[in-house]
C-alpha cells in the first residue's frame, strides 16, 4: 500500500469517515465559504486614520516612512535617502511600470538598474501590492514586475506603496488577491514584511539586518483626488 493510502486510510478509520456518505465534505464547504474570523477593531478606520496607524505601527518596528503626494517625488526621495545614509548612488528597481515610468535620469544622478535581486545589490526599490495598518505590514506579491529577491538580498530596501492600497487588516488584502488571482490560487510568493530583518539569537540581543535588509524605508504615495 502506498504511504498516501496508508496515512489517509488510518485517518479515515480513526475519524470514523470510512462509511461517511459521499459528498459530505465539511472541509470543502469550509474552504468555499472562507468566512472571516474575529478581526481586531484597531484597523477599522477611515483612510486618513488607517495611514496614521500604518505609520505608527511600522515605525514601532524600526521602519522609516515618508509621505508623498505624487509618484514623481520618488526619485528625489530615493536620492535623498542614499545621501542621508552615505550610500553609493546606485539602485536596483523592480521592473514595475510605475517605477520604470519615473524620470530617474532627469531628476537624479543615480545609476538605475532593473530586474531581479542579485547578491551584490546594495539598495533596491520595489512596489508593494498593499499594506496592512493593523501591524504596519507591507504586502508584496511576486510576479514578472515584482521579483521577490529584491525584498531580501539588498541591505537597504525602499518600498513604494499607494495610500489607497493600505487596508485595515490582512483579510481585506486577501480579498483583493483572491479577486486578482482567482479562487484557490495565489502568486508564487506573497510576503508580509513588517520592519527590517532582525535576530535575537545571540544572548537575546536585538540586532537588525540578520539576512534580509538592515533598513526598511517606506514611501507612501497619497495622490490628491486619486
Amino acid at each position: 500500500m502506498s504511504a498516501r493510502d496508508d496515512i489517509l486510510g488510518k485517518l479515515r478509520s480513526k475519524l470514523g469517515h470510512i462509511n461517511a456518505p459521499k459528498g459530505d465534505n465539511p472541509a470543502l464547504k469550509h474552504i468555499q465559504e472562507h468566512q472571516k474570523n474575529l478581526i481586531p477593531k484597531r484597523g477599522d478606520l477611515d483612510k486618513a486614520q488607517r495611514i496614521e496607524l500604518f505609520c505608527k505601527e511600522a515605525t514601532r518596528v524600526n521602519a522609516t516612512i515618508n509621505l508623498l503626494t505624487s509618484f514623481d517625488e520618488v526619485p528625489d526621495q530615493v536620492s535623498a535617502y542614499l545621501r542621508e545614509h552615505q550610500l553609493p548612488a546606485k539602485i536596483k528597481i523592480a521592473p514595475h511600470p510605475v517605477l520604470k515610468g519615473l524620470d530617474w535620469q532627469q531628476k537624479t544622478s543615480l545609476m538605475v538598474d532593473e530586474g531581479r535581486g542579485a547578491g551584490d545589490d546594495g539598495v533596491s526599490v520595489s512596489m508593494a501590492y498593499g499594506g496592512v495598518a493593523e501591524t504596519g505590514t507591507l504586502v508584496m506579491s511576486s510576479g514578472p514586475e515584482t521579483p521577490t529577491s529584491l525584498n531580501f538580498l539588498p541591505l537597504d530596501h525602499i518600498v513604494v506603496v499607494e495610500a489607497d492600497d493600505i487596508a485595515g487588516n490582512y483579510e481585506a488584502v486577501w480579498e483583493r488577491i483572491r479577486v486578482a488571482s482567482g479562487p484557490g490560487k495565489l502568486p508564487r510568493t506573497v510576503n508580509w514584511i513588517t520592519g527590517p530583518s532582525r535576530t535575537a539569537d545571540i544572548e537575546q540581543t536585538l540586532l537588525l539586518g540578520a539576512h534580509g535588509p538592515q533598513r526598511l524605508h517606506i514611501l507612501i504615495v497619497d495622490q490628491p483626488g486619486a
Binding site: 496515512i7 472541509a27 472562507h34 474570523n37 547578491g119 495565489l186 502568486p187 508564487r188 535576530t199 539576512h211
Partner: protein, 484 residues
C-alpha cells in the same frame, strides 16, 4: 539524533551547574513572558482569537483526511509535488532522492523542527550533500553539532563568548586576530558566510508553520529573512511538514498568525510572513523551478483520537517553554531530544516511546502555567497526568515510588482512615518542626537533599476548613439579610 531523554535526571543536574546556561535562562524567564503580556495587552481581542485559533485546529483535526486531500490537489494544480511519508526514514530518503535528481551539492535550510525530528542533516552529510542551517541560532548549533535548546531560539543556551569560539573554530579562512567581542561582529561574520551559501545552494529546504488547504500554500514565519533566501534563490524548494500543520483558509491562517508571534516573542507579527505556492510561474524573474512538499506522518495519525489528540493543535510558539518552572531551571537540552518544555514532555513520549522518555512527564509541577499561556489552549497538564497514569499501569518507574503511590492510593480510598493518619502525621510534624523547616527527614531524602521542607502548621486543611465553615455560613447569612 540518539535521544538522551533516559538520562534526564543527570542532564538536569548538569544543566543546573552550567553557569552560562543559567544566565541565559534567567534572561529568558523575564524577557519572553513580559513581552508576551505587553503584546496581549495591546490587543483586546487576544483571548477571543485564542479561542478561534483553537477551534480552527480542532475542526481541521476532525476532518484531517479531507483537508489533506484538498491541500494535495491544490499543490498539484499549482505545479508542485506532494510526497507522503509514513516515517522519518521515508522522509529522509525522499529528500535525498529530490536532492540527487537536482544534482545538489549544497542544501540551504531554514529552521524546521521536523527536519530535526527526522535528523536529515546527518543523513545528507553521509550521502555527500552539505546541509547548511541558515537561521543564525541554528547555524551556530549546527557548527557545534548540538540540537536546538528552544523551539524559536535554538542557541539560547550559549553566551556570546561561546559563539565567538565556535566561529573561530569553524571559519578558519578568516584572520585569527579578528575581534568577535560584539554580537554585531558575530552577526556580520555569519551573514557574510551564509550569503555565499544562499547564492550557491542547489536546493532550499524549509519547514512550514502552516499548510493552507485553500491554495496549496506553505507559510513560513521568520524574523531574519533566511527562509526567504532559502526558498527563493535555489532551483528547487523542498518543504518538510507534518500532516497536522494544515489550516483551511487564508482567513484561518491569518487568525493563527495573530496569536503565534504574540505568544512566541511578544511581537505583534514576525518580520517576515511568507506564503509560497508552487514553483515560479513561467513569466516570473525569480523563484524555484521545482516545488516539493514532503508530508510526514511520523506518529501523528496514531495520536488522532487518542488521549494526546489535542497536542496536534500545537503551533510550536514556545510559550509553554518560556513560562515553565522546569524549563526555566534546566533548559532544553536536558529533555534529551529535539523538543523540550511542557510540549516536549507530552510529545516526545509519543514519538520515541514512553519507556525512553519516562522521566519527562514527571518533570513537571503541574502548575498549569503552560496551559494558561498556550495560544491553542492545549491542556498540557492533563496530558502529562495521562502519561503518568499510563506509566503506572505499565509498571514503569522506580519500585519505591510505585510502592509509595500504591500505599497512598490505598489510604486515599479510605477517607476516615486517611484523615486520621493525616491528622496524626501533620500534628506530629507540626510539633517537632515548629514554625520552621526540615533540613532532612527520614524517607524523604529525595526531597530534602535538594531543598528544605516547610513544616506543616499542625492542623490539616480539612480540620481548618471545618473550623472556618461556621464563620463562612454566618457571613453568607449576613449578606442575605443585607440584600433581602
Amino acid at each position: 539524533m540518539q535521544p538522551t531523554s533516559p538520562q534526564f535526571k543527570q542532564n538536569a543536574r548538569d544543566a543546573i551547574a552550567d553557569d552560562p546556561l543559567q544566565a541565559a535562562l534567567a534572561k529568558l524567564a523575564v524577557g519572553f513572558p513580559m513581552r508576551r503580556l505587553e503584546a496581549a495587552a495591546r490587543l483586546p481581542e487576544f483571548e477571543g482569537l485564542r479561542d478561534q485559533a483553537r477551534d480552527i485546529k480542532t475542526h481541521v483535526l476532525e476532518n484531517l483526511d479531507h483537508y489533506l486531500e484538498a491541500y494535495e490537489q491544490k499543490v498539484t494544480e499549482s505545479g508542485g509535488h506532494v510526497h507522503w511519508c509514513r516515517d522519518a526514514a521515508e522522509a529522509r530518503n525522499t529528500i535525498l532522492d529530490i536532492c540527487r535528481k537536482a544534482n545538489a551539492k549544497t542544501v540551504t535550510k531554514s529552521k524546521s523542527m521536523i527536519s530535526e525530528e527526522i535528523a536529515v542533516n546527518a543523513f545528507l552529510e553521509e550521502n555527500g550533500i552539505e546541509p547548511v542551517e541558515t537561521d543564525l541560532g541554528e547555524y551556530i548549533i549546527q557548527l557545534r553539532k548540538e540540537p536546538p535548546s528552544h523551539i524559536i531560539a535554538p542557541a539560547i543556551h550559549l553566551s556570546k563568548e561561546q559563539v565567538a569560539e565556535t566561529f573561530r573554530n569553524a571559519h578558519l579562512d578568516l584572520a585569527a586576530d579578528r575581534s568577535l567581542v560584539e554580537p554585531r561582529a558575530l552577526l556580520e561574520e555569519a551573514r557574510a558566510k551564509l550569503r555565499e551559501k544562499f547564492l550557491g545552494a542547489d536546493v532550499g529546504l524549509t519547514g512550514a508553520n502552516m499548510l493552507i488547504a485553500e491554495t496549496g500554500t506553505n507559510v513560513l514565519v521568520t524574523n531574519e529573512g533566511n527562509a526567504d533566501l532559502t526558498n527563493n534563490l535555489p532551483r528547487v524548494h523542498v518543504v518538510i511538514a507534518s500532516i497536522e500543520k494544515i489550516v483551511p483558509t487564508l482567513e484561518d491562517a491569518s487568525t493563527i498568525l495573530r496569536v503565534l508571534a504574540r505568544s512566541a516573542t511578544g511581537q505583534d507579527i514576525s518580520v517576515y510572513t511568507t506564503f509560497c505556492t508552487g514553483p515560479k510561474r513561467p513569466e516570473d524573474l525569480d523563484g524555484p523551478e521545482e516545488y516539493h512538499v514532503v508530508l510526514l506522518d511520523n506518529g501523528r495519525s496514531d495520536m488522532i483520537g487518542s488521549e494526546f489528540h489535542e497536542m496536534l493543535r500545537c503551533i510550536r510558539c514556545g510559550a509553554c517553554l518560556n513560562h515553565c518552572p522546569i524549563y526555566k531551571s534546566v533548559g532544553g537540552h536536558a529533555y534529551g531530544w529535539v523538543y523540550s518544555g511542557p510540549m516536549g514532555a507530552v510529545l516526545i513520549p509519543n514519538l520515541i516511546g514512553m519507556e525512553e522518555a519516562q522521566h519527562l512527564p514527571n518533570a513537571s509541577t503541574l502548575c498549569g502555567k503552560c496551559e494558561s499561556v498556550c495560544p491553542m489552549r492545549i491542556p498540557l497538564p492533563k496530558m502529562l497526568r495521562k502519561w503518568r497514569e499510563r506509566q503506572f499501569k505499565a509498571e514503569i518507574g522506580s519500585p519505591s515510588a510505585r510502592w509509595a503511590l500504591k500505599s497512598w492510593a490505598w489510604l486515599a480510598k479510605r477517607p476516615a482512615l486517611y484523615r486520621m493518619a493525616m491528622n496524626a502525621g501533620v500534628a506530629f510534624l507540626g510539633q517537632i518542626g515548629g514554625r520552621g523547616r526540615f533540613r532532612s527527614l527520614p524517607f524523604a531524602g529525595g526531597w530534602t537533599s535538594k531543598r528544605d521542607l516547610t513544616a506543616p502548621s499542625g492542623d490539616t486543611f480539612i480540620s481548618q476548613y471545618h473550623k472556618g465553615v461556621r464563620g463562612d455560613q454566618s457571613g453568607a447569612l449576613k449578606r442575605k439579610k443585607v440584600h433581602g
